[in-house]
Symmetry: C2
Subunit: 87 residues, 2 copies
């Protein structure tokens, strides 16, 4: 079993209005020193069938490309952790 | 300068309909082995004034409690990285 920790963020070239709204709100709350705000989605998926890290990576790439990320506007990266199932 | 990497997730006791929708969609796409899906928000903030890690942590806690997280339904954790500014 593998745990996939997936970050999906807007590509640098894409304006993120939500992140801008957060930065504006922070300024209004008096936090003048927040130079930049990045905002993205974070997924954790438990994959029960993958027998190897390569197999888990292949599945996560597919899942990201087909569902979790809009590959036109977003990029993703992930870490894979092997989960030891207690016998 | 410090970079705060902040994860904001629903508390365990709170049902996350968006995460459920992702899991249902994955099942429909044929990924039967995705045992669980967790979905949250990920922020990166650059803090220019903090002079120490403790000061940066204090500011991030305040920012999370006041804006980034709904503390009734969400919990947050973060890592702080010191950024060396090129002279």
């Amino acid at each position: 079993m593998y745990l996939a920790k997936i970050h999906v963020n807007y590509k640098r070239s894409i304006l993120n209005p939500e992140a801008q709204a957060v930065q504006t709100a922070l300024l209004r709350l008096g936090y003048q020193d927040v130079a930049s705000v990045k905002l993205g989605k974070y997924f954790e998926l438990k994959l029960t069938n993958a027998q190897s890290k390569e197999q888990a990576a292949k599945e996560v790439d597919e899942i990201c490309d087909r569902l979790l990320a809009n590959v036109n506007m977003e990029s993703y990266y992930y870490q894979l952790e092997e989960l030891v199932v207690a016998e």
